[in-house]
Amino acid sequence: MDTVLFTFYGYELHVSYLVGAVLYVVLAPFAGGLIAGIDRKVTARMQGRVGPPILQPFYDVAKLFGKEKITVNNAQDFYVMCTLIFMVISGVFFFSGSNLLMMIFTLTAASIFLVLAGYSSNSPYAQIGAERELLQMMAYEPMVLLSAVGFYMACGSFNVGDIVMSDAFSFKYLIGMFIGYLFIITIKLRKSPFDLSMSHHAHQELVKGLTTEFSGRTLGILEISHWYENVFLLGFIFLFFARGSLPYTILGVAVVIVCYFVEILIDNGYARMKWQFTIKSAWIVTLIFGGGNLFVLYYLQPILAR
């Protein structure tokens, strides 16, 4: 079953990787939408409300696609479409077991297109939202890159496929990276202390921040790209525990569920912080947990292994 289709600079395309990529493209929107629905339901329960149906995000997007097309300029729609495309590509890189660094760079490209879409509208709310999105990227990017380096140190490869099949149990070596990643994923998932650039909730000092000028179909496309994004962000958590065997797969899925629940809890427990706090705290966490972990792997592990 798992034959190698071709080899490209050390990357082997297995049939199972190809299946993974296709499954991701087809199923991720459904999984992401479902996760968003469960998120809203759990949030409502935490606040003592009944909450919307689980399928609510799908109703929302279906509605958005049926709305009248209003756009301030055509460039905006193009940029948002690019966000979706690059988001899907980064997910495909991840789920086809290819290079982790490549995935991170395409993910950055997707975020940059979103920022461009915000800037292109010329609306002051969207522009401040876009600036904050850039600041958020500055806050989380170092940690994402460091964790990729960490995986290389632990497993000897940047290829997701090799990491999954590696004999090393990544989490054992990358506990610091894991904590750091959990911290910055709060920014990536747009959860409350760090939902600076666009808010899903009732605080509206920027109207809707980056998404203020998006309406109808454009907003729907952006929502779908968030679903794609969330699925592989959670997949990244899973990567810490993946070892190519069933018990570790179950452990990984369980950790992902627990982590997401904790994110929802944090979302409901915190008010929005200022951008200064976001950058400072994210960089400090990156330095201590990411940098510290890298230090241990680089200097101490060779000594211990001796």
Binding site: R49, V50, G51, Q56, G66, E68, I70, Q204, K208
Partner: protein, 207 residues
């Protein structure tokens, strides 16, 4: 069609306070609390006209908020529904004789559902929004045939002249008759101007 059903399952609202005493506003916000929890019906308070499907207006219109109400209405993508919350938004209420009050919201933009009350109760507001969903579904079907709500003219009057909504200010000249000031119930003309500097033959004779 899927989209036709979904618009009634995901009505996002925007709430604007005209000249309300805040009584109705508090009741609107009460709908969002765990007690009433309108998110059960997929309703989200967006605060952004470009994301909204239902426009909730409390309080009556006055000289100053006419452009605001029109602007919010025009920025909402079709299909859209306007719900006037409270007796002030419906007809001007107890403030209707005030010098600055024009009247209900329907003096400025088309209103689909009226929710009278002083203040309107949360149950009544939710009922009004649910009534609005029926209208929203009809408008969605109409939109598929190319029928959309009109864009309301941005024209409005200042104390010393008229702004035509396209960036031109027409200063008031001697001999202009300000109809709105004399007749608060006057309706828009074909251009949406409430105030016409038109002169009658009699006035010209007088001049």
């Amino acid at each position: 069609m899927k989209t036709m059903a979904s618009i009634t399952k995901s009505p996002w609202i925007i709430h604007y306070d005209g000249s309300s005493c805040n009584g109705c506003d508090i009741e609107v916000l009460a709908c969002l609390t765990p007690m009433y929890d309108v998110e059960r019906f997929g309703i989200i308070n967006t605060g952004n006209p470009k994301h909204a499907d239902i426009f909730l207006v409390t309080g009556s219109v006055n000289e100053q908020n006419i452009p605001v109400v029109k602007q919010i209405y025009n920025q909402m993508p079709n299909p859209k529904v306007v719900v006037a919350i409270g007796i002030c938004a419906t007809s001007g209420g107890i403030f209707r004789d005030c010098y600055n009050i024009i009247g209900g919201i329907d003096k400025v933009i088309p209103v689909d559902v009226y929710v009278p009350g002083c203040a309107a109760r949360p149950e009544a507001i939710i009922d009004g929004v649910v009534k609005g969903l029926g209208v929203l579904a009809e408008k969605q079907a109409a939109l598929a045939k190319g029928i959309a709500d009109p864009t309301v003219s941005g024209a409005y009057r200042y104390e010393n002249g008229t702004y035509d909504g396209d960036g031109t200010f027409l200063p008031e000249e001697e001999g202009d008759t300000v109809i709105a000031a004399a007749e608060p119930q006057s309706t828009d003309d074909e251009n949406g101007l409430r105030v016409k500097p038109a002169m009658t033959e009699e006035q010209e004779v007088d001049d």
